[in-house]
């Protein structure tokens, strides 16, 4: 070799390169449109869904960055993560946002990046701000960031589920939920969104829980695709979320003193979805496939097909029902959709306004009494009574008991302390008032009432 001239050596290098290139080109031939054909590497990529296209939306800048950095993508990503940490520590939010953008250029299909940084923006950065409008701004930033992550990772159901959590739990359950839910419909940046919602996250002007429901439904759709798995939570829990979001929507309306037909319809839809869709979903268990709404006869028939005894099937059905508290939510949705309960809840809310704000004690007394009567009607409904005559609602619905006790406390206070009238021996819902099992709850609610004179309950 040493005897070769410079030109000869270059010729040898060129021939060597050409020889090595042949198998590389052969193995790495790109696939044709639609992922068909191509070399062995392209075929394997297609088979195991590792190609850029199969993950979701392709980001050309991301692919370019990876090429430009050659083998240093990992190093660059590490440096950016460290920088992001420092920027967060030093509360330089806009630069943190830019750094996070650079990180996802390098790691577009690493779902933890999307989740971690979206969480960072929505939960951590927003919590650092004092103005609730600023907090909402950063919550939105995180949501928008995760939306983009979902677009680039279409076959990852967990990310869609996380998105549902952001829309539902972050906006609907944080301390600022009242403001956040309002902002979701009327963005505080009125100049930009012209008095409407931020259409980048709420194009259809829906309630946040209904948008969350859509996201959870999309997660379920992806989850049902062949070859897709999720490792976030048990299957019955994962699949449950769209239906629970519908209930959260209805419940949130009640919390906001909205008791009209829309709320009742929302509960009716909750009941329908819970029993007719979720309750009719197949769940594989160690005792074979079960559905929550299957009767014992249906379970027995299925057990015969699968070779399991009825008891075994009932055991697993019950265990899965307990996991998601199926019976409770079914009962809750069932009773909340009734006009009587809606009317009772409305009466309690109106009574509180008359007592606290309007100071109209006579009207408040009558309204509370009316509400208690309506609640009694619901409790007395045979549909919600057990065979031994006990009320399923009172034993399962702790919130209902608490609402009844609060109403009785205020009603009794108005009668006895304000109007100086005697309290009758019998009154609607008195079974709750005298029941020894609620003695502790009654005492604590009384104490709370005395402390705040009605403001706390």
């Amino acid at each position: 070799m040493n005897n070769l001239t410079s030109s000869q050596r270059k010729l040898v290098y060129f021939v060597g390169i050409a020889i090595l290139a042949v198998p590389i080109v052969f193995l790495g031939r790109p696939a044709a449109e639609g992922g068909q054909g191509g070399g062995m590497i392209a075929q394997s990529r297609q088979k195991y869904r590792l190609g850029e296209v199969s993950f979701g939306e392709v980001d050309p800048a991301s692919a370019t960055m990876n090429l430009v950095l050659l083998g240093l993508r990992g190093v660059a990503a590490n440096l950016l993560w460290m920088e992001a940490d420092e920027l967060k520590e030093k509360k330089r939010w806009s630069e943190l946002n830019s750094t996070v953008e650079s990180i996802i250029r390098l790691q577009p299909h690493f779902q933890s990046v999307w989740k971690f940084q979206a969480w960072n923006l929505s939960y951590n950065v927003s919590a650092e701000c004092d103005a609730v409008e600023d907090r909402y701004f950063w919550v939105k930033k995180g949501i928008k960031f995760l939306e983009r992550g979902v677009a680039r990772n279409e076959r990852v159901p967990e990310m869609r589920h996380d998105l549902g959590d952001f829309y539902g739990k972050k906006l609907g359950r944080s301390d600022e939920r009242r403001e956040f839910r309002e902002f979701f419909l009327v963005d505080p940046d009125t100049e930009r969104w012209e008095g409407g919602p931020d259409t980048e996250i709420n194009p259809d002007r829906l309630d946040n829980y209904l948008v969350a429901k859509q996201k959870y439904e999309a997660a379920n759709e992806v989850y049902r695709l062949p070859g897709v798995e999720q490792h976030k939570m048990g299957e019955p829990l994962f699949v449950m979320y769209p239906y629970r979001s519908q209930m959260d929507y209805a419940s949130a309306r009640q919390d906001e003193n909205k008791f009209g037909d829309v709320t009742r319809e929302a509960w009716a839809e909750s009941y329908r979805g819970w029993t007719q869709e979720y309750g009719q979903t197949d769940f594989p268990t160690p005792g074979g496939v079960i559905r929550f709404e299957w009767t014992h006869d249906e379970l027995e028939r299925k057990g015969e097909e699968e070779g399991y005894s009825l008891d075994f099937k009932i055991y697993w059905q019950g265990r899965y029902e307990d996991m998601v508290n199926y019976r409770y939510w079914k009962l809750r949705a069932s009773v909340e959709r009734t006009p009587e309960l809606a009317a009772a809840r409305k009466a309690f809310a109106d009574g509180r306004v008359q007592f606290r704000e309007e100071q109209d004690m006579f009207a408040a007394r009558d309204t509370f009494y009316d509400g208690l009567e309506k609640l009694q009607t619901v409790i007395d409904n045979p549909e919600y009574r057990r065979e031994d005559g006990s009320s399923r609602l009172l034993s399962d619905e702790a919130d209902l008991v608490e609402d009844a006790l609060k109403a009785i406390i205020i009603w009794r206070h108005i009668l006895q302390d304000v109007l100086g009238q005697p309290i009758p021996d019998e009154f609607p819902m008195d079974e709750v008032w005298v029941d020894p099992q609620y003695e502790g709850l009654r005492a604590s609610l009384l104490e709370e009432f005395q402390r705040w004179q009605g403001s706390g309950i």
Partner: protein, 557 residues
């Protein structure tokens, strides 16, 4: 803006520079003398003296014309290497800028756009300056074209200076073009709503030593830590005597704006220990205090106080959003507590004492906290156009590039191209990204007597044994040896701290990106320290380059 204003003492810097230069000269003389002694025996002193004499003559009888010609030659040579192609890199970067600044929308503040331009310029121009200056002389020596130059009647000192000047002029031209492009790009891409952030606010800060806290009993103390890792801000407790205190010096009527008010701006941070009223911000009040006259005039004088407007530069402002600005009128009502007694006080006649204005911050909400640092409250003078701050920051970058050219050219006088590049690059890295780390290590050593995780050898030991930085080392002789050696390595690092250029003086991005004018004088990034740093390296580098080139065997390839 996470920045601590600290005074820069020119005299102290000059004294330190003279000491370092003197020490370096003595060491060089000693080493040169010893080498001469080995090579020339008894003739050594005469040879050393002759070399010094010739050096003094060459370095003091410089010809501007010859230096200019050499600089022109350097530029022509660099242009023939297609240096200007680097401009296309910038055009591509700016074109692709939006890819790195996704979701610009109208919410994006101006800061990331400005930072992007400044960072791009810095990290593309440094390699250009580095490669040009480090490879020019070695390439000439290799191709023997330098022979043509040295045979002409030019001093070698002029060759060194000519090279430095040539590279600096060329990179200056590139920088100027790129800076203009960058400014146009910023003006075009910054969202309309964030355009007001493109300004150059002129702040008057109080000195770090004139900022302190009063604790909940009104005694001088420390600001509370509310759980932040970053201890930049101290927090004061609401509805107690706890206060943050700023004493501004040199306050006079020239600080008033056109409306006759003293404009102040703040960047306080709120921390809640309970929810409070979610739809209202945590409130604060400023107190203008003259202790000698027993005056404590609150501002605002009525109402529950001002709501903290946090992180105003971190997003585009909403239309209805209040700005973190307080305009204090010259005439205020005298108060007893928060009740006015009917008489008036004058800001300058009654509250400013010997040019000093004492302002105290109190948190008005019980159980809530407000955080502040010394730069979180400043007197805001009339704003300057954004271009003023931007070009001052570009000037800082230019000084940095010039310094790289100076160091690179000097290194290339005694090293071959690759090694010179490595040395200069190493100095740049140590002088900028690693500088804070090095200073932090030495500060720990000074304050605590040891560094978390130990020195170089201890760190190696911990790495190999996978031991975390908190665990104590085993007590044995090996540990004592490691710690002894590490102490001396740290002593070396202390010396290195004086020699490695402090590139932090040149990075003025933080000001311009946050909409501030670049200060002339500050211990951090500022114009005067940046100029002095370049001059401080120029003189020894020219001397070192000259003697290196003088002694270098130009026949060697």
């Amino acid at each position: 803006m996470d920045y601590e204003s600290q005074p820069y003492h020119v005299t102290a810097a000059l004294v330190e520079w003279l000491l370092v230069i003197g020490a370096a000269a003595l060491i060089a003389l000693f080493v040169g003398g010893v080498v001469a002694l080995f090579l020339a025996g008894r003739r050594a002193p005469a040879l050393v003296f002759a070399a010094l004499k010739r050096g003094f003559s060459d370095l003091t009888s410089l010809s501007v014309r010859r230096i200019g010609a050499l600089a022109r030659l350097t530029i022509q040579e660099s242009l023939s290497r297609r240096t200007l192609l680097v401009l296309f890199v910038f055009v591509s970067l700016f074109a692709a800028g939006n890819l790195f600044l996704q979701s610009p929308g109208q919410d994006m503040p101006a800061k990331p756009f400005v930072s992007f331009v400044m960072t791009s310029i810095r990290w593309v121009l440094i390699p250009v300056a580095l490669l040009l200056s480090c490879w020019g002389l070695p390439a000439d020596i290799k191709s023997r074209s330098l022979h043509t130059v040295v045979t002409k009647p030019v001093h070698r000192s002029e060759i060194v200076i000519g090279r430095m000047l040539g590279y600096s002029l060329l990179t200056s031209f590139i920088l100027f073009v790129v800076a203009l492009l960058g400014l146009i790009w910023i003006q075009r891409v910054v969202p309309e709503r964030s355009k007001p952030q493109l300004t150059a606010r002129v702040p008057v800060y109080c000195d770090l030593e004139d900022f302190f806290f009063l604790d909940r009993n009104g005694q001088t103390g420390k600001g509370l830590n509310v759980g932040d890792m970053w201890e930049h801000r101290g927090f004061i407790e609401g509805q107690t005597k706890s206060r943050a205190v700023w004493i501004f010096e040199g306050v006079d009527e020239s600080y008033l704006n056109d409306e006759g008010e003293l404009r102040m701006e703040y960047s306080f941070e709120a921390f809640r220990s309970h929810k409070g009223r979610i739809d209202e911000g945590v409130r604060f009040r400023l107190h203008l205090v003259n202790e000698e006259k027993g005056l404590d005039v609150p501002y605002p004088q009525r109402g529950a106080g001002l709501e903290v407007q946090e992180f105003s530069g971190e997003r585009a402002a909403r239309k209805d959003q209040e700005k973190p600005i307080i305009d204090i009128p010259r005439e205020l009502s005298r108060t007893v507590g928060l009740d006015e007694d009917g008489s008036k006080v004058d800001l300058f006649d009654d509250l400013v004492e010997d040019g000093k204005l004492r302002i105290e911050l109190s948190c008005e909400d019980d159980g809530q906290y407000i955080g502040a640092a010394n730069t979180d409250l400043f007197i805001r003078l009339a704003d300057k156009p954004f271009a003023v701050g931007y070009f001052k920051a570009i000037f800082g970058l230019w000084l940095m590039v010039v310094l790289v050219c100076i160091i690179g050219t000097t290194a290339s006088c005694f090293l071959k191209g690759p090694v010179a590049t490595l040395l200069t690059f190493g100095l740049v890295i140590l002088g900028h990204p690693m500088r804070s780390y090095m200073e932090n290590q030495l500060q720990q050593l000074d304050e605590k007597g040891r560094v978390l995780g130990g020195g170089m050898l201890e760190a190696c030991y911990r790495l190999v044994t996978q031991m975390n930085v908190q665990s104590p080392l085993p007590e044995n002789d090996a540990t004592r040896v490691i710690q002894y050696l590490d102490t001396h390595i740290f002593n070396g690092l202390k010396i290195a701290e004086f020699i490695i250029p402090n590139f932090k003086h040149f990075d003025m991005t933080v000001f311009v990106a946050n909409g501030f004018d670049v200060p002339w004088m500050d211990a951090g990034a500022a114009i005067v320290p940046a100029i002095l740093t370049v001059l401080g390296y120029l003189i020894p580098c020219v001397i070192l380059g000259y003697f290196s080139l003088q002694l270098r065997e130009l026949e060697a390839k």
